[in-house]
């Protein structure tokens, strides 16, 4: 299921012709609605939930809604991109929460003892 843009948070990357979500979307599905100057998805059915836009949005304005066959409300899968890691919070339909951390960069401090 497609990304959902929160219009109160999205600022259309301030009216730039291409907001960041449009630039990063591998399917070129995101675009700027010229009337509202907010990001919208052109075709929801083509989205394959890669979540690139969700991760990239500098205003935290995009959520990816899960397909209800996978998890109906309140199921969620939320990425959080840090500087050296990405975390995933998975909330299933019963509200159970699981969290995963993936290191993307190994810092140079690993030789220090804890």
């Amino acid at each position: 299921m497609p990304p959902k843009v929160d219009p109160t948070k999205c600022d259309g990357c301030r009216g730039e012709s291409e907001p960041l979500c449009e630039q990063v979307c591998p399917g070129n599905l995101m675009t700027l609605d010229k009337d509202t100057m907010k990001a919208i998805i052109r075709d929801k059915s083509d989205c394959w939930d890669c979540m690139t836009c969700t991760k990239a949005c500098p205003r935290q304005a995009i959520q990816t809604v899960l397909q209800y066959q996978l998890a109906y409300f309140p199921g969620k899968l939320i990425p959080l991109v840090g500087t050296n890691s990405v975390t995933w919070t998975s909330i299933d339909c019963h509200g159970r929460v699981e969290r995963f951390v993936m290191k993307t960069l190994v810092s140079g401090d690993d030789e220090d003892e804890d």
């Binding site: 990357c13 935290q60 939320i78 991109v81 500087t83 951390v101 993936m102 140079g108 401090d109």
Partner: protein, 793 residues
């Protein structure tokens, strides 16, 4: 990358060692392995012996980065800076870590916590030191082209100053003459000299420089580009007279059938549609005011013996590229006919103060005799009405600061010519700041009568004069007086469309208003104390009465101040601050968010579409660093990379199950407040690990996300109060970003209260201590971060 870091921990003669157990620290330091070349514990590092220890270690162990853990960075800055420099290290390779005000003092009652916090901080600073590199010097070539908009006193002063410094200046003046309103003054207070003399001197020196291109009859109609790379569209109106051919014989004027109001004399009197040049017209040839010409009339053209008249000339549009601009668009008198009760525009003998100036001038319509335009009599009774439309909510709310002195000056003109002349000044409050008070006294001594009143109205008197009705607010009596002439003190109102163009094309008016950079009056006042002369994007500076009403002395000073701002970025080669923003093009995906969030608009796009900051104007606030979703703005010294290393430096709990909090604090207001809290010994929880940053707007949200993923329990972002940020919008940006992040955290079932934004004034130590305490208390109630138990893949 520092490969041999020296960690020096100072006992500060008991101030630190009294609450932090230094011998125990030795074991902690021993745990830091990578790239650490020396670990020294010393009781008193700023003593002769301590300094020698540092110097010796640097040389013997060839250290390339030093961490001094002890007093805060503003203490002994010179002492340690000089020492490190002397030992061959760059000043930026000395990292100061405050464990005195930031650790030993506020937590002196809990030595164990205090010790652990100090150990954490040293660990964080070591992680930062590993990524430090000496600054490379950045030299850029300056912007050698400037535009000065407005050829009045401010514009001429700025243009001369810039041209003398070797800058190529385009001076744009909308009228056919230079000097603006000043050119039309009879005398200048307080010396009562002639304004034309100073202007002529200025203009002659401008010509001497040979670097000023003067465009009269020209106006800027559009303005585009960004700091350092502006482009203006300029429209030059035609004179309809060929400059090389006109000999000034004046036959065209005799032939011209229509009258046009005399702009130079503020509509007092008139001339023909074709006119002789006004005084201070640099071209010095005749000029046709085409808007008054009857259709198809070619009388002047037929009369001209030299064939100099060309009625088909067209307006010329040019585009000018420049780096910096001084806006000196000046003022125009408030249209006092709007104050209907004073009868300006109804009775010809009601004049404005500028018209009075022309009437008194020898080059004016009456040759300097004060003749009432309506009755034609010599004025023997004159009433000045102050604040006509000024300090009035229905007209303009502000005081123009010069009208009182100007009216007193004009009263003195009258008294000097004819001591028998009766002169009354009806005032609300006389405002003669500084030594202009002397003029006030002089006028009183000369017999000028001052009456405190705001007159009810001016009407025609059967005697042929004007009847003024007023209530003397000091005695409470109603007075009626008859005068030959009424002079209204019209205040100053911003002139021209330059402001509108800037607000439309360079900086949003909304933003200017939000941060108080523009007065309610529409004047670009800017931040008068911290960043005077500037309000719009960088490279555009305001001078003279475009900034606010001011007298000639202040106008000239402000023009010099504005040109000083231009010169800062105008040297042939400028060594700029090493802290300027640098975009890593390998990582950048051209999203242009930095363009939008830069409070100074210093970014432009290069040929390939990458954003590039203009280093000459970059303030180094690093708000762009905080905004970049790719974290690819990498200033030298302290950027996201170093901060991320500090956040993920495996900070440990200061006591079991105690929350770990990182506080990013703006080094201008919030951090000094925290230091002050430490200095005063105000207690706040040792859980707070403070990282001072240049502006709270420079904190990238990825750092907080990283910290949360790493299991840190809370974050505190402390910046200036909204509207007081040294970098205009930095503090508000940080708050906005944090609010957005908070919503995501809520979705993730993480308590949004874990991250908090705090606005602090520089003296608000108590508030900091209180809020920090409350945050930690709240975090204890919430419990440890769920990411402490997350599955690491």
């Amino acid at each position: 990358m520092a490969n041999s870091i020296g960690i020096f921990v100072c006992g500060c003669r008991g101030l630190v060692s009294g609450s932090i157990d230094l011998p125990r620290m030795e074991a902690e330091l021993a745990k830091l392995k990578k790239s650490v070349g020396a670990r020294v514990l010393h009781p008193w590092l700023c003593s002769d012996g301590g300094r020698e220890t540092i110097r010796e270690s640097i040389v013997k162990k060839s250290l390339d980065c030093i961490i001094l853990a002890g007093c805060p960075g503003n203490v002994h800055g010179e002492l340690f800076g000089g020492l490190v420099n002397g030992a061959g290290l760059a000043a930026e390779m000395l990292l100061r870590l405050d464990i005195r005000e930031g650790c030993a003092f506020p937590h002196r009652d809990s030595p164990d916590h205090s010790f652990r916090k100090a150990a954490n901080l040293i660990r964080m600073w070591t992680a930062r030191a590993r990524l430090m590199e000496p600054f490379a010097e950045i030299r850029l070539s300056g912007h050698r082209d400037a535009v000065v908009a407005g050829g009045g006193l401010a514009g001429l002063t700025a243009a001369l100053d810039l041209a003398e410094a070797g800058i190529r200046v385009t001076l744009i003046e909308k009228e056919s003459f230079i000097g603006g309103n000043v050119a039309r003054l009879n005398k200048v207070f307080p010396r009562m000299c002639d304004a034309g003399c100073g202007l002529t001197y200025l203009y002659n020196r401008i010509k001497d420089t040979g670097r000023v291109r003067l465009l009269t009859l020209s106006e800027i109609t559009s303005l585009g580009g960004r700091a350092g790379r502006y482009e203006a569209g300029v429209v030059t109106r035609p004179r309809y007279i060929k400059e090389g051919l006109c000999s000034g014989c004046g036959r065209c004027v005799k032939a011209c059938p229509v009258e046009a109001p005399d702009r130079f004399n503020y509509g007092l009197g008139s001339h023909r549609a074709v006119q002789a040049p006004y005084p201070m017209d640099p071209a010095g040839v005749y000029l046709i005011n085409r808007e008054y010409c009857p259709e198809g009339c070619e009388a002047c053209s037929r009369a001209c013996p030299a064939g100099a008249i060309d009625l088909t000339q067209k307006a010329l549009e040019t585009r000018i590229n420049f780096g910096t601009m001084v806006v000196a668009s000046g003022w125009s008198p408030y249209p006092v006919e709007r104050v209907e009760r004073f009868g300006c525009g109804v009775y010809p003998d009601v004049l404005t103060n500028m018209q009075m100036e022309r009437l008194a001038s020898e080059s004016g319509p009456t040759g300097g005799r004060i003749i009432c335009p309506g009755s034609g009599r010599e004025a023997r009774r004159v009433v000045f009405i102050q604040c006509a439309g000024s300090r009035d909510v229905w007209h303009q709310s502000w005081c123009s600061s010069v009208c009182c002195t100007a009216s007193i000056k004009q009263a003195l003109y009258l008294k000097e010519r004819d001591p028998g002349c009766r002169v009354y000044i009806f005032y609300n409050d006389i405002r003669t700041p500084g030594d202009y008070e002397d003029l006030y006294v002089r006028a009183q001594e000369a017999g000028v009568v001052f009456i405190r009143t705001n007159p009810a109205g001016v009407s025609a008197d059967p005697s042929g004069g004007l009847r003024i009705t007023a209530e003397d607010t000091l005695t409470g009596r109603v007075i009626e007086t008859v005068a030959d002439l009424v002079v209204l003190a019209a205040g100053m109102t911003p002139a021209g469309d330059m402001m509108k163009i800037i607000e439309k094309e360079v900086v949003d008016r909304e933003l200017l208003e939000k941060y108080g950079l523009i007065g309610s009056s529409g004047y670009h006042t800017g931040h008068r104390q911290c960043f005077p002369m500037e309000t719009a994007a960088q490279g555009i500076y305001f001078a003279g009465c475009a900034q606010g009403p001011m007298d000639m002395g202040r106008t000239a000073s402000s023009a010099l101040a504005a040109s000083g701002r231009v010169l800062k970025a105008a040297a042939v080669e400028v060594a700029v601050s090493p802290h300027i923003a640098v975009v890593d093009k390998k990582e950048c995906d051209k999203c242009k968010r930095c363009l939008e969030e830069c409070p100074y608009g210093v970014f432009h796009l290069d040929g390939e579409g990458f954003p590039v900051p203009d280093g000459l104007f970059c303030r180094g606030c690093h708000v762009c660093v905080g905004s970049c979703p790719r974290q690819c703005i990498v200033p030298q010294g302290f950027g996201v990379k170093q901060q991320a290393a500090m956040v993920s430096a495996r900070i440990k709990e200061t006591a079991p199950r105690e929350p770990v909090v990182i506080a990013f604090m703006c080094e201008n207001d919030a951090y000094p407040a925290a230091l002050e809290a430490g200095r005063r010994g105000l207690e706040y929880p040792p859980n707070i690990h403070i990282i001072p940053v240049r502006c709270i707007g420079s904190v990238n949200m990825a750092l907080i996300k990283e910290g949360i993923s790493a299991g840190l329990d809370g974050f505190l972002l402390a910046g200036c109060r909204s509207g007081e940020c040294h970098y205009i919008s930095g503090s508000d940006r940080a708050r906005e970003r944090l609010d957005n992040l908070r919503d995501t955290l809520r979705d993730m079932m993480i308590e949004p209260e874990r991250v908090e934004f705090l606005s602090l004034g520089i003296g608000e130590a108590r508030i900091f201590a209180r809020e920090a305490g409350e945050l930690v208390k709240r975090l204890r109630e919430i419990g440890p971060s769920p990411f402490k138990t997350a599955i690491v893949i």
